[in-house]
């Protein structure tokens, strides 16, 4: 929205606040502050975002599966962006571990929860933006006069409608629809509040509170994260680690996995051991293992190195000297690919959910 409109809106609210400063809900807040239409400006990113971050993100995330706008119209926390990038790798997104870490930095720095809205997101471009302070101010009013019928999360009870799904709430812009409805058509509530006496400010803070509850249900909401995954049996997990899982063939509880329970939260442990090739989206102390390839040419020469590209027609690698080599794949060319995570991939088709939870419980004990 244009800047002049924002200013006009804020002035209106400030004037209204002054006029109704005795309203119970406002008094309940120790330091009344002017609700603003937009959340506070985002703080400067603490981490360094590489100079090529925007270009890398556009190339990896904006050319193949969806427009870049599809990512940059979303607002997420750093951990949510990490999870998103890992999901996309799981769905086929291609990037080096450095590129994926760069993308997470870029998206986290520029498209966090408090970044300004842009076109291309779900809903109308002019959908209301929640001011967290105004929403907080609306909470006690909702609790005292609305919650009994509409439920603590506004999702309705047998006595009152689900407000998260209410067309009135979804059509509302800062009280524009809500106010006339509450004052004119809403039946009397069980509390002392008379609907017709609702002030502009009370309507406004209720509007922010209710839009906040709608936003709670969206992907990327603060509560949109895994719960307790520590449900397994650590002893059974240890047995699986050393036995059927074959984990101990490559890993050691006192070696590479020492103190893993201190270094990673349980959800991350679960994700890492099932999908280690996705770990590139986080910055690592040591370089990620890479896929290598051995190519025997028609002339009988054998080339070894890091796999750069392979399709049905060409294989390309970078050898230990750093030289790039590409070879046309013909009937006489033999290619052997070595995926360092092959054992983890094989696990996917045989491990049970119980074994997954047991292994996570076990690894979590390694403090």
């Amino acid at each position: 929205m244009p800047a002049d409109a924002t200013t006009r809106w804020s002035l209106t609210v400030a004037a209204t606040l002054l006029a109704v400063s005795t309203a119970a809900a406002v008094n309940a807040v120790q330091t009344p502050q002017t609700p603003t239409r937009r959340p506070p400006a985002r703080p400067a990113p603490a981490r360094t975002v590489p100079a090529d971050a925007e270009a890398v993100t556009k190339r990896v995330c904006g050319t193949t599966c969806h427009p870049i706008e599809h990512a940059t119209s979303i607002r997420r926390t750093r951990s949510q962006w990490e999870a998103t990038v890992e999901n996309m790798v799981g769905r086929g997104a291609k990037g080096t571990s450095t590129e994926l870490a760069t993308i997470v930095e870029y998206l986290s720095a520029n498209f966090g929860l408090t970044a300004s809205p842009v076109r291309g997101a779900a809903g109308p471009d002019d959908k209301p933006m929640v001011d967290p302070k105004a929403s907080e101010m609306g909470k006690p009013l909702f609790a005292s006069d609305c919650q009994a019928c509409h439920g603590p999360d506004a999702r309705g009870t047998s006595q009152g409608a689900n407000l998260v799904r209410s067309p009135i709430v979804l059509k509302d812009r800062y009280g524009s629809v809500l106010g006339p409805y509450l004052r004119g058509s809403h039946p009397p509530g069980p509390g002392a509040l008379k609907m017709s006496d609702l002030t502009e400010t009370q309507v406004l803070i209720l509007a922010h509170f209710l839009r906040d509850r709608v936003n709670d249900t969206l992907r990327g909401a603060p509560g949109f994260k895994p719960g307790d995954v520590l449900t397994g049996d650590a002893r059974a997990g240890e047995a699986y680690f050393n036995g059927d899982g074959g984990c101990a063939l490559c890993h050691s509880a006192t070696g590479d996995l020492a103190a893993i329970g201190r270094r990673m939260d349980p959800v991350t442990i679960q994700q890492r051991f099932l999908f280690p090739s996705n770990a590139g989206s986080r910055r690592r102390a040591t370089p990620a293992p890479v896929v290598t390839v051995a190519v025997t040419t028609e002339a009988g020469e054998t080339l070894n190195g890091e796999l750069v590209h392979m399709d049905d027609f060409t294989v390309a690698l970078r050898d230990s000297s750093g030289a790039y080599r590409s070879v046309k794949r013909t009937a006489g060319v033999r290619v052997t690919k070595n995926d360092p995570y092959a054992a983890h991939v094989e696990l996917l088709s045989k491990i049970t959910d119980k074994a997954i939870h047991d292994v996570v419980a076990y690894l979590e004990t390694l403090k």
């Binding site: 904006g62 050319t63 193949t64 599966c65 969806h66 427009p67 706008e69 599809h70 119209s73 999870a83 890992e86 999901n87 799981g90 769905r91 086929g92 291609k94 076109r119 291309g120 997101a121 779900a122 809903g123 109308p124 471009d125 002019d126 959908k127 439920g151 999360d153 309705g156 689900n162 799904r165 067309p167 979804l170 709608v214 249900t217 969206l218 992907r219 949109f224 994260k225 895994p226 719960g227 307790d228 995954v229 449900t231 959800v267 994700q271 099932l274 999908f275 090739s277 996705n278 392979m310 399709d311 049905d312 027609f313 991939v345 996917l348 088709s349 491990i351 959910d353 997954i356 939870h357």
Partner: protein
């Protein structure tokens, strides 16, 4: 020679089934009403495809990419789209003729599947919930009709399909708990003729018994993301429906949740339902069953049958009798781990242990699915149903463990995937051959009477022609990035062209003679 005779016989039988492509172009999303994406053109064959060469390329602005719609070709003009954009391009030169841009008021801009055309008029949907009619000569807007409500987070991405005097469109959006529907508009006036809701809106509506309450049903989702297919003889359109809402946390929608994640046959004149088949009863994994319902007439159990095939996002392949909806074949086209076989109707039985869990459930396929929106193809010449497929795992979590979740309430996370072409024998549902790609990502497909199958090879960035019988790659061209739509073919000035979108570029190849 035997194969050529067989092809001709099959083509003759198919000529009766659907209107011939107008002017040898590609006049609708799937080329014809069947959804087969099979072309009878034979100027490009497995014998000469190595000579296929570039005619031209056309780039759209990078900010609007990728091209995810299927271009239409009518009277030598190409009509290609991106969200809020339509371009008309000369098929002889690749030069732009006109450009239409919608002044958007919102909506998700993830993709647009293309336009519909009838006579001198073109139809396109916009992310901000409008069906817009343009003049094909200059792209000037004739009218627009609102088809959905942005405030409820609907949007539109579907390609309109024109059937007689009906323009059929669906709606998109699964953020909030709102009902899906498909509707028909008058091609001239734009007025809405009927709307069919996917989920029950009233206490006596069909399917209400599959929901715990009217409230749950009315908000039960089921978006109609994909274009319909049509059988003129039966006068039925085949609508595919998306996932139920809330999407992942599902405790407040116990039951099969009809008619979400289903294939539904409707009368295009009044929107009345004739039959349904549910591809994913009580879906909890965002597996829209909106993959193309492909219509073909073929022999089954010794009898000529009117069939419908679908390779569904949940990894299951179905062949139905399309006059009754009765399942003839139900199978897995990639290995899956979420179901306990099929019920007597041929519908999969979900394994409750593989619903999303608070502590996570490892499920294959992942949210992206065993396949997705990129269109499949069926060749009557080979009898094979081709689908771009993924074998993919992820962990599914419940994030909202309450009794009344809304929206998503969970999702999947992480994952591993590999991608392949599957050629499925429609009589058995078994995979006849599989061609694994090194690259990742799905591609739209095209098969032709020249014994060819065209596909992208995912992130490897090639456009590939394969032998449709054996799956052997015969020709490829580097197109810089993944093929991002369904390839098409058409005849222009006596020459056969093949066109494909990859990222921001439309590539047109021709067999020079």
């Amino acid at each position: 020679m035997i194969r050529v005779t067989l092809v001709l016989a099959l083509l003759a039988s198919f000529a009766l089934q659907s209107p011939p492509p107008a002017g040898d172009g590609w006049p609708s999303y799937n080329g014809d009403y069947t959804g087969r994406r099979f072309s009878p053109l034979t100027k490009i064959t497995d014998k000469n495809v190595k000579q296929l060469s570039l005619a031209w390329s056309y780039r759209i602005p990078q900010s609007a990419a990728p091209i995810k719609g299927t271009p239409l070709v009518v009277n030598g003009t190409v009509y290609v789209t991106a969200p809020d954009h339509v371009w008309a391009v000369d098929a002889r030169t690749g030069r732009e003729i006109w450009h239409f841009e919608n002044k958007s008021t919102g909506g998700i801009h993830i993709g647009n599947r293309g336009v519909g055309i009838k006579g001198d008029w073109l139809y396109v949907t916009t992310p901000d919930c409008h069906l817009v009619s343009l003049a094909i000569k200059d792209g000037k807007e004739r009218w627009r009709q609102k088809i959905c409500d942005l405030d409820q987070f609907y949007y539109s991405s579907v390609a309109p399909i024109v059937i007689n005097n009906h323009v059929i469109v669906g709606v998109s959006g699964d953020d909030l708990d709102v009902p899906g529907y498909v509707e028909s508009h008058d091609p001239v006036s734009g007025e809405r003729q009927w709307r069919w809701f996917v989920v029950p809106q009233n206490a006596n509506d069909p399917g209400i018994e599959s929901w715990p309450s009217l409230e749950a049903a009315r908000h039960g989702g089921g978006m109609t993301w994909q274009p319909v297919t049509y059988d003129p003889d039966l006068n039925l359109i085949y609508v595919t429906t998306g996932n139920p809402q809330p999407v992942v946390a599902h405790v407040n929608r116990a039951g099969d949740n009809l008619f979400t994640a289903s294939i539904v046959a409707l009368n295009p004149d009044d929107g009345k339902m004739k039959w349904y088949f549910q591809s994913s009863p009580h879906d909890t994994h965002d597996w829209d069953a909106t993959q193309t319902p492909v219509l073909f007439d073929a022999e089954f159990d010794g009898q000529p049958r009117k069939l419908l095939g679908q390779a569904s996002r949940n990894g299951k392949f179905f062949v139905l009798d399309r006059s009754s909806g009765k399942a003839l074949v139900s199978s897995d086209f990639v290995p899956t781990n979420w179901s306990l076989g099929f019920d007597p109707k041929g519908q999969p039985i979900p394994n409750p242990a593989k619903h999303p869990q608070i502590d996570g459930a490892l499920v294959t396929p992942n949210q992206g699915g065993a396949t997705n929106w990129p269109p499949p193809s069926f060749s009557p010449a080979t009898g094979l149903f081709y689908v771009s497929a993924a074998r993919a795992y992820s962990v599914w979590y419940i994030y909202d463990p309450g009794k009344n979740p809304q929206g998503w309430g969970g999702t999947d996370r992480g994952g591993w995937s590999e991608f392949m072409l599957q050629a499925i024998d429609y009589k058995t549902g078994k995979v006849r051959w599989s061609h694994k790609w090194e690259g990742s990502g799905l591609s739209g497909l095209l098969s032709t009477a020249g014994n060819l199958l065209f596909s992208g090879d995912g992130s490897s960035g090639n456009f590939v022609a394969l032998d449709a019988t054996s799956g052997t790659p015969l020709w490829h061209a580097g197109v810089r990035t993944s093929v991002s739509n369904g390839p098409i073919t058409y005849l222009l000035d006596g020459q056969q062209h093949v066109m494909v979108g990859a990222g921001d570029t439309l590539w047109d190849f021709v067999m020079n003679e």
